[in-house]
Amino acid sequence: MRHYFANIYSGVYTVFVGMAITFKQMLKPSVTHQYPYEHSFERKKNVRDIPQGYRGQLFNRIEDCIGCKKCEMICPVDCIDITTEKLPKGEKLWDSMNVVHLKDRAEIVGMIEGNEKIESNTTVAIQTRERGSVEVASERIARVVERKPVIFYLDKFDIDMSLCMYCGLCTEVCPTECLIMIDTLKGIEYSTFDRTSLIFKFAKPEMYDKLLDEATDSEAAD
């Protein structure tokens, strides 16, 4: 008999306890975002940015790519397709860019002028394409990726993002760190209606034409 009433009591009691919890929750503000409509959440308190180093879409800075094919080798799903043509022996296209990683996780792409070795308590001048010469205190520099001479023409550098499994192994083996995963919104929102447009072609053959033109121009000037 007592068990019978205890049953009723615990039934009613636990229901009320649960309802109290859900009611308390109802008065609290919600935690969700209205994603496609507000992806910059600055107005709201529960802002979240895409963290640095997020593994988004793959992108290759083709100017710095040396065509070593390490990424193609490591890729578990073979989504990277590279064709290269080797230059005649001893020649090189250009020195690749240095990538200077700062301690606050920012990075500067450019050429370090003069000595590659960074001594402490100095400022390092980095010649960038966009911003001209940038001077950075050597304390801020976390590491510098070494320059490598480019000895390959890249005829083809295709990445099929519909195959990619976002493991990030290719970006880790890249010696010049020119293959990166975009950690901004651009690297996430790239869906299309056509599967073939997910094959990203990074090779720019016209780049070499321009370069050859420049070379002939300078020869003419000489």
Binding site: T14, I21, V31, I74, P76, M165, L169, D183
Partner: protein, 392 residues
């Protein structure tokens, strides 16, 4: 209980007028993925429930034979996608042990990496159990705990996103260490999360665990006692729910688990609410308790100091010596074993994953006899299977 009788491979359809054969799944809201159950019903009562698997088979083991060791790790992510960190770690531990067999190739995993691994994997264990709790609530019919669980799991995923750049398929634990060091202020965020989350567990217990209807639905249902669990090779929370204190982290400590002090959660008989050892409620409860236990471990990591140093051992190439290894680790769903045969080349000859979900699922047929349809749902939820790991 005796070992299960060998079942006939072929489906025998006896056209009884009062027996109804119902296909539950592969598309069904609560079969946790693509499990198909062939139910033979007598009204609401299930005479037999035969699980059919293989709908999510992706040839993990065959793939592995054609990939080098580091390349296999992202594939382990896809096995138990709820607890991918633990899967990564399980594989890496096996390969590391295999490499340690050769003195020249053996190496020490740096201290910092070990701490990071424990921290991350315990966080992932919380995330996995949260999801299990949420979906179990939804199976039983309460929708709200599901969203609460996802809300809190989201916070864990944000932490993972910061440390490894991905939300679900982490590929974080590597052979010889971890892939990235933690970002600045990461530990503060972990602490913030733990402080936020610990009281929430009591909320969940009040909302679902102690709810009279929930107790009625789960206590005394589908009792998998100790003997049966051992016979079937069931491990993890399902085994501990049967009252056996068997936790690899405690009993065969790998990595640095022997440095932490934590209690193993196990099932208890509570006559007041009708809970029996090894019933659905106890299996579920072990998971709720394990979340607290993981918090205990994480707190110890946060209170002590994580040593500075490298996060990756210096090894040139992953090329284990000739030989074979079986290594098991405690994943959230049970003992995850990897059997690897190496012939000294960069690619393994054979990789076999011993999946805890598969063994748990094999007990379903015996557990579900004579119960009701609603109980089948309760059992599937309580043994907490992930079809990605069952089928691999």
């Amino acid at each position: 209980m005796a070992a299960p009788k060998p079942e006939s491979k072929f489906i025998e359809l006896k056209p009884f007028s009062d027996e109804m054969v119902v296909n539950m799944g592969p598309q069904h809201p609560s079969t946790h993925g693509v499990l198909r159950l062939e139910l033979k019903l007598d009204g609401e009562v299930v005479r037999e429930a035969i699980p059919h698997i293989g709908y999510l088979h992706r040839c993990f083991e065959k793939h592995s034979e054609n990939l080098s060791y580091p390349q296999i790790i992202p594939f382990t992510d896809r096995m138990d996608y709820i607890a991918a960190m633990n899967q990564n770690w399980g594989f890496c531990l096996a390969v590391e042990k295999l490499m340690a067999a050769d003195e020249k190739k053996g190496f020490e995993v740096p201290e910092r990496a070990e701490y990071l691994r424990v921290l991350i994997c315990e966080l992932n264990r919380i995330g996995s159990h949260l999801l299990s709790f949420g979906t179990y609530g939804m199976d039983i019919g309460a929708f709200t705990p599901f969203l609460y669980a996802f809300r809190d799991r989201e916070k864990i995923l944000l932490l993972f996103e910061k440390i490894c750049g991905a939300r679900l398929t982490y590929n974080y634990v590597r052979i010889g260490g971890v892939s990235r060091d933690m970002p600045p202020k990461f530990l503060d965020e972990v602490k913030e999360f733990i402080d936020y989350f610990e009281p929430k567990i009591d909320d969940y217990n009040a909302l679902l665990t102690d709810n009279k209807i929930f107790i009625e639905r789960t206590t005394g249902i589908a009792v998998m006692d100790r003997e049966m669990a051992i016979n079937y090779g069931v491990t993890g929370p399902n085994l501990r729910g049967a009252g056996l204190q068997w936790d690899l982290r405690k009993d065969e400590p790998y990595s640095i688990y022997d440095r932490f002090d934590f209690d193993v959660a196990y099932g208890k008989e509570i006559p007041e609410i009708g809970a029996v050892l090894g019933d659905c409620w106890n299996r579920y409860k072990v998971r709720m308790d394990e979340m607290k236990q993981s918090i205990q471990i994480i707190r110890q990591i946060l209170e002590g100091s994580i040593p500075d140093g490298p996060i990756m051992a210096e090894l040139k190439a992953v090329r284990p010596p000739k030989g074979e290894i079986f290594f098991r680790s405690e994943a959230p769903r049970g003992e995850l074993g990897f059997y690897i045969v190496s012939d000294g080349t960069p690619k393994p000859v054979r990789v076999k994953a011993k999946s805890p979900c598969f063994t748990a699922l094999s007990a379903l047929q015996e557990l579900s006899k004579g119960l009701m349809i609603a109980d089948i749902i309760a059992i599937i939820g309580s043994i907490d299977i992930v079809m990605g790991e069952v089928d691999r």
